[in-house]
């Protein structure tokens, strides 16, 4: 294994050097790096700028030698050079942009993985059902969407129509409620297996719930000042506990059920006291600390009531605690939404289409968090459309492959419940190939999203690259390439080694 990893790293280094050489030569052929100086009208000033840029980019030496100079500077002095147009160090640009890119793309990737894997698994469990066909068709449509087209539409729709709609009171039109309820009904009916009667009933119930929910949101103008409040929080908390128990351990497991319910009750009781903890002085580390405390308490509860199977109860309870913590955080953010929306720099147009933050906004942690959300909302939506589709597709295929295996039939034949077979035997194995895809996608996160960042003017890595390419600045393009390429090589290696680690049937390096 050690030899294998070393060999892969050496091979990766050779690939990087070869590719960077080709890329550098390509960059010297991509255009005129001095083109921007034509805008300077004063001849002496222009000559001076041309001189500086020639110096910065070593334009007076042949390309191959230029590459060697660049490489030796990078390797020996860790120096990425200067940005040709501004003469700022490229390193400063990198350190400024990497966090922004991570913020945008990692949110989108995380949400896509959660949604995509869930939809894909459900659609595999209901293969050839109406639900499966709806999901498959939708993923095909999402795959075919040009992201720039969607992004431009989202930008115009969110920036104008959505903000206008919020200003006008956030009322759903009757047509909208009817159409969405019918859609919810159809999805519900197609998802429910079994007889026609069961399908109809499920469809009617889910349609009715959707209609009631939307009418309530519309009449109370919930979206203008959202929040759960203690009662709704309690209902949602027990709902989460019920759902987690149903998936993780099954209702028959009384100990896990009790652990989950006790955890949910503790969470609900702590709702009001926690409101004073979530004050304006809180920061992200304190939040994470509170989350750790919540999970710790849940684990303790699980161990206390777990009996002979402490691990399972503790797991179930911790997931309940995690989800309820997230719910509490979301609730607290919602409480600040109205204040954020009404603040003097937002002026009731809270859906943002440009940049990553409102510079003039001066406020508490919660206002800034809402600001981040409102800037992330549209670009994340644009990014998610496509990656959700690919995760759905992939996890569906992976799950179907696993459900075909002999050990699933064996598990069923020996009388295990459907839940155990699906969650314990099928799901875990279906997630293994997904792990490699996820590792690969994480390496892509750092590269940002060229198109989405361009449309929403998000100052991330993608824009560093595209601006460098437009201005024929090898320093910026190569810096982007070195960072993203290194990540790709490392995470590819992690994916392969991780695959071998997770799945003993796979051997590497032999």
């Amino acid at each position: 294994m050690f030899v294998y990893i070393c060999r892969r790293i050496v091979a990766g280094a050779f690939v990087m050097v070869g590719a960077s050489f080709i890329l550098y030569l390509l960059m010297t052929k991509a255009g005129d790096p001095l083109a921007f100086t034509l805008q300077i009208s004063n001849p002496t000033q222009r000559a001076a700028v041309i001189g500086t840029v020639t110096e910065t980019l070593s334009l007076d030496v042949p390309p191959v030698e230029r590459y060697l100079q660049w490489l030796s500077r990078l390797v020996l002095e860790q120096d990425f050079g200067l940005v040709s147009t501004t003469q700022q160090p490229v390193w400063d640009e990198l350190t400024r942009r990497v966090p922004l890119t991570l913020k945008l793309v990692s949110t989108a990737t995380l949400l896509s993985i959660v949604f995509g894997v869930m939809t894909g698994m459900l659609s595999a469990l209901r293969q050839y059902s109406g639900f499966d066909y709806i999901v498959t068709f939708t993923t095909f449509v999402f795959f075919s969407l040009p992201v720039f087209w969607v992004a431009v539409i989202l930008k115009a729709w969110g920036g104008i129509n959505l903000n206008d709609w919020l200003r006008d009171g956030a009322h759903f039109s009757v047509t909208f409620i009817v159409v969405m309820s019918i859609f919810a009904g159809v999805v519900g009916a197609s998802f429910a297996g079994g007889t026609k009667l069961r399908k109809t009933v499920t469809g009617a119930i889910s349609g009715a719930i959707a209609a009631l929910l939307m009418s309530w949101m519309s009449s109370t103008q919930w979206l203008l000042d959202p929040g759960f409040g203690p009662i709704l929080f309690a209902v949602l908390g027990f709902g989460i506990a019920a759902g987690v128990v149903a998936v993780m351990s099954g209702w028959r497991n009384a100990r896990a059920r009790n652990a989950a319910l006790i955890t949910a009750a503790i969470g609900i009781v702590s709702y009001l006291p926690m409101q004073s903890v979530f004050d304006d002085a809180i920061n992200i580390w304190m939040l994470l600390g509170w989350m750790a405390i919540a999970i710790g308490v849940a684990t303790a509860v699980g161990y206390a009531v777990g009996g002979f199977d402490k691990g399972q109860s503790a797991r179930t309870a911790s997931i309940v605690a995690l989800l309820m913590g997230v719910l509490m955080f979301v609730d607290r953010m919602m409480q600040s939404w109205a204040a954020y929306s009404a603040s003097s720099v937002i002026r009731n147009r809270p859906i943002k289409t440009i940049g990553h933050q409102e510079e003039r906004l001066d406020g508490s942690f919660w206002l800034v968090a809402n600001d981040t959300f409102s800037h992330l909302f549209l670009p994340t939506l644009a990014l998610m459309l496509i990656s959700v589709a690919s995760y759905t597709r992939f996890s569906r295929g992976s799950m179907l492959e696993v459900l075909d295996q002999d050990y699933i039939r064996t598990a069923q034949a020996k009388g295990l419940t459907k839940r155990t077979v699906v969650v314990r035997h099928a799901l875990r194995n279906a997630l293994i190939p997904l792990a490699t895809i996820v590792a690969f996608d994480i390496s892509g996160i750092i590269g940002g999203a060229v198109i989405t960042e361009s449309v929403f003017q998000w100052d991330g890595m993608g824009r560093l690259f595209i601006d460098g390419l437009r201005e024929i600045d090898p320093n910026r393009v190569m810096a982007f390439f070195v960072v993203t390429g290194t990540f790709a090589v490392v995470f590819n290696l992690i994916a392969d080694v991780g695959y071998a680690f997770l799945d003993p049937r796979i051997r590497v390096g032999e």
């Binding site: 070869g18 590719a19 052929k29 040009p146 060229v450």
Partner: protein, 387 residues
């Protein structure tokens, strides 16, 4: 599967059905007797057909793929004939480079699909079916059709180029192995990590080809990597099979083994991934056009049109919407065709009986099928996945 059984009139109870449904296959299908009756039916269906006939039948049975094929053919014919291709004149009254007289209004689409008795202006195309760009004086239908022509040309060239390169690299790498494999695969890695945008920028600036050809060649020369890896994987598996040994014993040359014996077995993979590659290629080409590195004026492509009119979405949406809809339509069709081809080439593929078949075949069949599916496997599938 209906060939193996005849419906017994008057047998109402389910147990009767189960008994009467026991398949009675003809002798030449004796294998089917010990397998699931469904497979027996499937085998009877394909008996005596060549591989390509089976594939063709399965493909024609795929509804999504057939509908997509028709829509795609319609788009291609419309684009090819309407504004003329090269020296051949088209039937549409404007060409993409004609200056059309400005209309008095905002230049909205004149196409109407609402008949007069529903309060519309009757079904008809009107003067400018997809609207008109009053600033530049362009008929949008002609411009969009020209964009489709360019984009289709690009993906066809791209498909041909990357398929040939990918197949050759993958075949050589998989067949010869050892240092040839290492060298070619490291070369593939290098190509993968070079950003396509840079290639397109260089192709546009340095190669100096006119618009679409530089984009097509640049994309074609750098998008073969995925296919090369797939073909290599197939060759790695197939070169160990007996028929390759047999060919070698018969003194076939390496080239003959590669291209005559092994390659035909990988046709399914190649065809499917080429189709999907062309769909992805159209999106890439459009993205390049959107970022300003694709086809440039006076030529136009669908992505270039989207880029050109992105500011017009709020005031004159038809300028921006139509090229996007055409992109989605073409890529979606290619996706469905690829899906249909994948199903058609998949030897494990089992026909999914629809409700009508089940009703016709009787309850026993449906029940067995439901049981089989509840277990999550059928004989056909476990046989296939074991291979």
């Amino acid at each position: 599967m209906s060939v193996t059984r005849s419906s017994i009139p008057g047998s109402e109870s389910e147990s009767d059905h189960v008994v009467s449904d026991t398949p009675q296959p003809p002798d030449d299908l004796a294998m089917g007797a010990v397998l699931d009756p469904e497979i027996a039916g499937e085998m009877a269906e394909v008996a005596g057909l060549s591989q390509s006939q089976i594939v063709r039948r399965r493909f024609f049975r795929h509804k999504g793929a057939m509908v997509s094929l028709l829509i795609l053919a319609f788009i291609v014919i419309l684009a090819a004939t309407s504004v003329g291709w090269g020296p051949i004149p088209g039937w549409w009254k404007y060409s993409y480079d004609d200056l059309v007289p400005r209309t008095g209004d905002d230049g909205g689409p004149t196409m109407s699909l609402r008949p007069q008795w529903l309060g519309g202006s009757g079904i008809g195309l009107g003067e400018h079916p997809l609207g008109v760009d009053n600033e530049l004086g362009k008929d949008m239908f002609a411009l969009n059709m020209r964009g489709v022509q360019t984009s289709l040309t690009i993906i066809v060239v791209l498909g041909l180029m990357s398929t040939s390169i990918g197949v050759v690299v993958g075949a050589l790498s998989g067949y010869y192995g050892k240092w040839v494999d290492s060298l070619l695969m490291r070369f593939t890695d290098v190509i993968i990590v070079i950003p396509l945008l840079v290639i397109a920028a260089v192709a546009g600036f340095a190669l100096g080809f006119s618009g679409k050809w530089s984009v097509a060649i640049a994309l074609g020369a750098f998008t073969w990597t995925g296919l090369a890896r797939l073909v290599r994987a197939e060759f790695l598996a197939l070169r160990e099979r007996e028929f390759v040994d047999a060919a070698r014993v018969a003194n076939a040359s390496n080239m003959r083994i590669i291209f005559k014996h092994i390659l035909p077995n990988t046709v399914g993979t190649i065809v499917v991934s080429t189709t999907l590659l062309m769909g992805a290629g159209l999106l890439t080409e459009a993205a390049l056009g959107f970022l300003g590195f694709g086809v440039r004026a006076p030529e136009t492509s669908l992505g270039t049109l989207v880029n050109q009119y992105q500011g017009a979405y709020e005031t004159r949406p038809w300028l921006f919407i139509w090229p996007g809809i055409l992109i989605v339509a073409i890529v979606l069709c290619l996706q469905f065709i690829g899906d249909g081809l994948r199903d058609a080439f998949d030897p494990r593929q089992k026909r999914i009986p629809n409700r009508k078949d089940l009703d016709r075949d009787g309850g026993g069949e449906a029940k067995r099928d439901a049981q089989a599916r509840a277990i999550g496997t059928t004989v056909a599938r476990s046989l296939g996945s074991g291979a």
